[in-house]
Subunit: 228 residues, 2 copies
């Protein structure tokens, strides 16, 4: 895998609540430099990121109901609609984890489907990713989450918000999602801090990677390529 | 301090994203049993909590822009408005931490003021608490946050969301807020897990405590009282 191929799979991510405007500018500049697929930023920074990236191949992703997924469907729709109106092309939403754990399948699916409708109405190129928080779920609940996502016809299932104390992406979780959810694509996110881990996620079936350590990972990949 | 007096200062809190409907019912029953001031729940559970607590002195608190504070003002307003429409009497919102860190005072204040307007329009009894995330802030930034809250005329400043890796409430943070923000009231939240810590927060100046360990703390307080 070349550094360019790897970069094209990365959502260069800065979702820490302490992130400032200058840090978002830097994130966008790095995405342009290295050819990342997208930047992923909190809703309050979508307009700024869109201004920096307009005319480039780098798209802006933002989040809805993030990171708990425990606000109302109407609020998630509002998050998604505002981000899309401001120019975001991809929405990473968190599903209703509590409802999933309680086995309330319709509630989980309807919440996702309502946001999916907003995203699909924007254009066929807009993308919805649904965050499952796999580290906090049993295999049975992961399977139930995948069924909800399939019924709501989402584009990606994403392993983790990166904010849950139970942890982020694992190879095992990516393999499980890949097996259960194909043809829905898989985004691995949360705790992917080095090249080895990034490549192992792709090996396990990830189509996209969410990372903050993206620049270090790409530099490591370039160093490895140039030694070959 | 009697157990009753302590209970009347506690927001009995369940904001974990895994919380299920039966757990919210249990939270409400505990609040009724022990005479807590409020339950604090995620937006998705406001209606349910209101149904369980209508006609009792226990009020329902919910959250806006929680726990990152990095969504748009319009989305925070939507969170607050929906919670109030569903019967919530108190809103705990997170301020724009990144803007505060960047020193963008007007942006921080205007975000708070917009939500304050929604809360005040509901009734004089509705309450707005603003979460500062003190563990992630320097003393200077805490002071700036307090000025923003004072200008927006909020009811409470709350130390922490309870979700930030930097930590929750400390006695020092409560003392600092008390000194800087009076007459705004102080809510200590995040990591208050036992009676000793709860009492130390009150000693430091807290007017309200946000806790998940509320029942254990009250039982410990009752045991202590009965031994006297």
């Amino acid at each position: 895998m070349t550094p360019q191929q790897l970069a094209a799979m990365i959502d260069h991510t800065l979702l820490r609540p302490e992130a400032t405007c200058p840090q978002i500018d830097r994130l966008c500049a790095q995405a342009l430099d290295h050819g990342f697929c997208a930047v992923c930023v909190n809703p309050v920074y979508v307009s700024q990121a869109v201004r920096r990236l307009t005319g480039s191949p780098v798209v802006v992703a933002s989040v809805a109901g993030f990171p708990l997924g425990a606000n109302t469907t109407a609020a998630k729709i509002e998050d998604a609609r505002q981000a899309i109106d401001a120019g975001a092309r991809e929405i990473d939403m968190v599903l209703q984890l509590g409802a999933l754990i309680a086995g309330e399948k319709n509630r989980v699916r309807d919440d996702i489907a309502a946001v999916a409708e907003v995203v699909r109405a924007a254009s066929p190129d807009h993308v919805l990713k649904v965050i499952l928080e796999t580290a906090a779920l049993s295999p049975e609940l992961i399977a139930l989450g995948c069924r909800c996502c399939a019924e709501a016809q989402v584009d990606f299932i994403k392993t983790s918000s990166g904010f849950h104390p139970a942890g982020g992406a694992t190879e095992q979780a990516v393999r499980t999602l890949k097996k259960l959810a194909t043809p829905i694509k898989i985004k691995a996110a949360g705790g992917i801090g080095d090249l080895k881990t990034a490549l192992s996620m792709i090996e396990a079936g990830a189509d996209r990677l969410g990372m903050s350590a993206s620049v270090d990972v790409i530099l490591a990949c370039e160093a490895l390529s140039s030694r070959r």
